[in-house]
Symmetry: C2
Subunit: 226 residues, 2 copies
């Protein structure tokens, strides 16, 4: 098809522009001493449930805030605000991913220096977010046990763009006869050495190890600044 090269070229420019903004954001985050973690996954894998529990658990000891992306509705922001944290919704309309410029706009008026952790929840999509750096320090790719063990093989790019895998809804693993070994093997096949966490935002299982990963990241950031 004749139109392909042109589309690819335009996409490349968009990505390049995104990378410039992402790099600026990363510098700002580092200078402000805030640790920034993002979450990508399929729709319904449990990003918001995990984030709600994260904000609630961290809030007593840290200054936390979140940006949440969705095509439509402010529902997630409303839900997350119950944790008491500052939360803003980014609605993308028909855009299938967040871009660094959307993160920048979402942060307007917030003082990054007043935060320990900033969380960014991407649009539910296992494809499109992979190409867009948001300046985050750590990208979690979530995969619920109800989605099946084969997702890493079918969506390798997103697993490659992330730093840590989080298997979610592990309380449902028995009900869906989840094959832990197959899931782990599939993740390692596309991303050898990837760290894999297991959590249930519902029961709280696995939350300590997951929070530890975040706190270690913050400690590293602070140590590097001094």
């Amino acid at each position: 098809m004749a139109r392909e090269p042109r589309l690819v070229e335009v996409r490349r420019n968009v990505l390049k522009q995104n990378d410039v903004v992402a790099r600026e954001l990363r510098t700002e985050f580092r200078e402000a001493g805030v640790f920034v973690a993002s979450m990508v996954s399929s729709p319904g894998a449990g990003k918001t449930a995990l984030l709600e529990r994260t904000l609630t658990l961290l809030r007593s000891r840290y200054r936390v805030a979140a940006l949440v992306g969705d095509l439509a509705t402010e529902n997630d922001a409303a839900r997350l605000k119950r944790s008491g944290a500052e939360v803003r919704q980014i609605t993308t309309g028909t855009v299938c991913h967040l871009e660094a410029a959307m993160v920048r706009s979402g942060l307007e008026g917030w003082s990054l220096g007043a935060l320990d952790f900033l969380f960014i929840e991407n649009v539910g999509n296992l494809v499109c977010p992979s190409g867009y750096d948001l300046g985050e320090d750590l990208r979690f790719v979530l995969m619920s046990v109800t989605e099946g063990e084969d997702k890493p093989l079918k969506y390798p790019t997103i697993f490659n763009s992330a730093d840590v895998s989080v298997l979610t809804k592990v309380d449902l693993a028995d009900a869906v006869e989840f094959d832990w070994a197959a899931a782990e093997a599939n993740i390692q096949a596309v991303r050898p050495g990837m760290h894999v966490l297991r959590v249930s935002a519902k029961t709280g299982a696995g939350m300590p190890e997951y929070l530890q990963a975040l706190e270690a990241g913050l400690a590293e950031r602070r140590a590097a600044a001094t």
Copy 2:
């Protein structure tokens, strides 16, 4: 951002080109007397499981075939071939949806007139496929009960691009405390009057009503041809 108008313009051209091919496909399908149904959903909502059961159940009475889209792997085609039906995999690389031209290429060498039903399984994505007509007669949007009731509100465009909603994995509804009334209300909020089916490919629950929708479509097609 200065680049936006140009990107939008290119996207529009891609869509227009897609619509031309989709229209040609639709005409070919009608002339061949084959009824074409497609499936869109999040990754892991159960498209392949439902399709496997569909092919197995229909195959004794109808001539059936399927095209299945994924970014990577031929796993789904291999799995679906166990049904005995003709199945071809379309691998899209990094493209987050099927396009009509991919369907056309996937059909090469197949005689449409030798088929009663053709199924097209889209890439797992609740955003991108919505803008791409594939020439199908009926588009199912699947949503598993494990994804939560709010998906129609958050991804309205895909529900608007589909003809029928299928709630899947209904055997897990109790385990996830699925709120049927809320799910139905959310679907009707974005798409008033939409037909909603409930199935479990695992237990077979709801399969008769779902197959009936397909058979009614084929009967209509055949009646229109005579």
